[in-house]
């Protein structure tokens, strides 16, 4: 029961930031369970990906298991699920942890079904209570926080990105190969990549979101420029997504994505209840809005009242200067 499996994620052969978060959380959980449990990190990728796994000992992996197959270069639902399930069944684990990224949200339920294990999705905290795994997770898009207890010898948990900040825990992290099961019932015909370097709003550690205050889709360049200066992902309110100004992938709120970045900048967003629900767990919130009574200011750590068309370009300049200096 005390062993924990952390399923990591890579992109173009490099481990994603969430991978270290998942391994670190697995370490904490294994230690909390006591009994000297081991943490195994599973890395799935194209041949050669084993090099990427070699540093996971730093965040607490006792062993790094690498499953290589040419079809694993990208997230492959059936192959990843089959491979991870086989590893999970063989290892005597009490928990399997996955990051709740776009891929992880697809993988975790498949794994849970294959392992006949209960699932807690998109959690912001894990613990042990009376030998049982507990998980804290926002529900109703963050309008309420649920504490779950998972009553099974094995459970699957997906972790909200940016929430489990890795520390250091020097462990062996010896790399070994495991069998890849490259089955697939779904064939990828084509990948339409977004612009190079596009960050997913649900995973980015900084998010700049725009709302109706921008007055038109053409003015989103202001948001994009500020996002670029901050190294941030672009988000959007429901109003502007419904108006067709921005793609749904960028929507923050109850019918979009719920985000927990280190910094969230809301520009021209008044702060409807369903939007606030989606971003209120951000560490620091900045709001820029012309209406000083806008609800967004009630959750903002720092508010600036005024014309966003004057404020945002100035902020972009100052941020660029600060970063350069």
């Amino acid at each position: 029961m005390a062993n924990v499996l952390a399923v990591t994620e890579q992109r173009d052969g490099a481990l994603r930031k969430t991978s270290r978060e998942v391994v670190w959380a697995a370490r904490q959980l294994a230690d909390a369970l006591g009994g000297g449990g081991t943490v195994d990190a599973l890395v799935l990728g194209a041949p050669g990906v084993d090099a990427a796994g070699s540093k996971l000992g730093e965040v607490g992996a006792d062993r790094v298991l690498v499953a290589e197959d040419a079809s694993f270069a990208r997230y492959a639902p059936d192959g990843y699920a089959a491979t991870a399930a086989a590893v999970a069944k063989a290892g005597g684990y009490g928990a399997v942890l996955v990051a709740a990224t776009a891929g992880g949200k697809d993988l975790a339920p498949r794994l849970a079904a294959r392992l006949d294990a209960p699932l807690a999705s998109d959690v912001t905290g894990v613990g042990i209570e009376g030998g049982k795994l507990t998980a804290t997770r926002p529900v109703y898009a963050g309008k309420a926080i649920q504490l779950l207890r998972l009553d099974a010898p094995l459970a699957v948990v997906s972790l909200r990105p940016n929430t489990f900040v890795p520390g250091s825990a020097a462990r062996g992290g010896a790399v070994s190969k495991v069998a890849a099961s490259a089955v697939s019932r779904v064939t990828v015909r084509e990948v339409k990549a977004a612009e190079q370097g596009t960050l997913d709003v649900a995973e980015a550690s900084v998010v700049v979101s725009g709302g109706r205050g921008l007055k038109g889709p053409e003015h989103f360049a202001l948001i994009e420029n500020l996002a670029k200066a901050l190294g941030a992902a672009v988000g959007a309110s429901r109003a502007v997504v419904d108006a067709g100004w921005r793609p749904h992938a960028e929507q923050v709120g109850q019918t979009g994505k719920t985000v927990s970045p280190q910094l969230y900048v809301a520009v021209g967003i008044s702060g409807a209840i369903q939007h606030l629900a989606g971003m209120r767990t951000a560490k620091t919130i900045v709001a820029i809005n012309k209406d000083k009574d806008a609800p967004i200011f009630q959750v903002a750590d720092y508010g600036v009242v005024g014309d966003l068309f004057e404020i945002v370009p100035r902020l972009t300049d100052e941020v660029a200067k600060a970063k350069a200096g």
């Binding site: 997230y75 639902p77 776009a102 949200k105 339920p109 849970a112 079904a113 006949d116 294990a117 209960p118 699932l119 999705s121 998109d122 997770r137 529900v139 898009a141 309008k143 309420a144 926080i145 649920q146 504490l147 779950l148 207890r149 009553d151 019932r185 779904v186 064939t187 990828v188 015909r189 084509e190 990948v191 596009t198 997913d200 900084v206 901050l230 749904h248 019918t255 979009g256 910094l263 369903q274 209120r280 560490k283 620091t284 919130i285 709001a287 000083k292 200011f297 009630q298 959750v299 750590d301 720092y302 600036v304 009242v305 404020i311 100035r314 902020l315 100052e318 941020v319 600060a322 970063k323």
Partner: protein
């Protein structure tokens, strides 16, 4: 074309959440319940596919309390042919238990397509669709934003990390619907009247034991009151200074 569309009764997204006396659920008094917004895309897609195929049947399946019959009636009013309510006093927090009950209902139904919303806006699992697919042993594509069916095959577009993926799969298959897949129709009065006469079969949900217990539900901690730094672009240098030195996020 025979299509099952699995829908969930959820609180309206504008609901202000209050915690019930049991400390583990929401106070439902005065709460308006709706068909899950993502489930509506699934219903619309099912109707379009049926009509495009020139016939068949769309079956709306919901698991939940008696009141979920209204949820099914909404789908029937949009144009689904019949409904199945898998009755449970409450919807368990254990998504796999729900998926097992749905899979038991769907397994011998002879469906070409099983559709879900990509997630429920209350518990946010993103799980019941792909779990049901695994239990049924069917191909599954989640978060589908575009769909074409050609013969016994489907081609779907789905959002992935940093882009879109176009995938091909054989029917029968399980798909979960993303916003943008279509524009759900509003039920016409005629549809609402017709829905009253459409059959809804009610039977107990084959829920095994739930292995996920909600120990507590609480409102999120209030954020500490923020401050308005001032008005206009001249405040920006102060903002940047605070982001660097106080919040330490720059």
């Amino acid at each position: 074309m025979k299509i099952a569309v699995c829908i969930k009764r959820v609180p309206d997204t504008e609901t202000r959440v209050r915690i019930a006396a049991d400390g583990a659920s929401i106070d439902e008094s005065g709460v308006k319940f709706i068909v899950g917004p993502y489930d509506e895309f699934a219903v619309e897609e099912a109707l379009q596919r049926r009509d495009q195929a020139g016939g068949g049947e769309v079956v709306a399946v919901a698991l939940g309390p008696d009141a979920a019959q209204e949820t099914i009636r909404s789908a029937l009013a949009m144009g689904a042919d019949r409904g199945v309510l898998l009755k449970a006093d409450r919807i368990p927090a254990d998504a796999l238990a729900v998926a097992k009950a749905l899979a038991a209902e769907l397994k011998d139904g002879g469906y070409d397509l099983v559709l879900f919303g990509k997630m429920a806006v209350d518990d946010y699992h993103h799980a019941v669709g792909p779990m049901t697919a695994e239990l049924l042993g069917l191909p599954c594509v989640t978060a589908v934003s575009k769909l074409a069916l050609e013969g016994g095959k489907g081609v779907a577009e789905r959002e992935i990390e940093g882009g879109l993926e176009v995938v091909e799969f054989a029917l029968p298959a399980v798909l979960t619907a993303e916003k943008g897949l279509n524009t759900p129709r509003y039920p016409a009065l005629k549809g609402i009247m017709a829905a009253k006469k459409k059959p809804v079969e009610v039977k107990p949900a084959a829920l095994g034991e739930s292995r996920v217990a909600v120990q507590s539900l609480a409102l999120p901690p209030e954020r500490k009151a923020g401050r308005i730094l001032g008005e206009g672009p001249d405040v920006v240098p102060e903002l940047v200074r605070l982001l660097r030195t106080e919040a330490k996020v720059l």
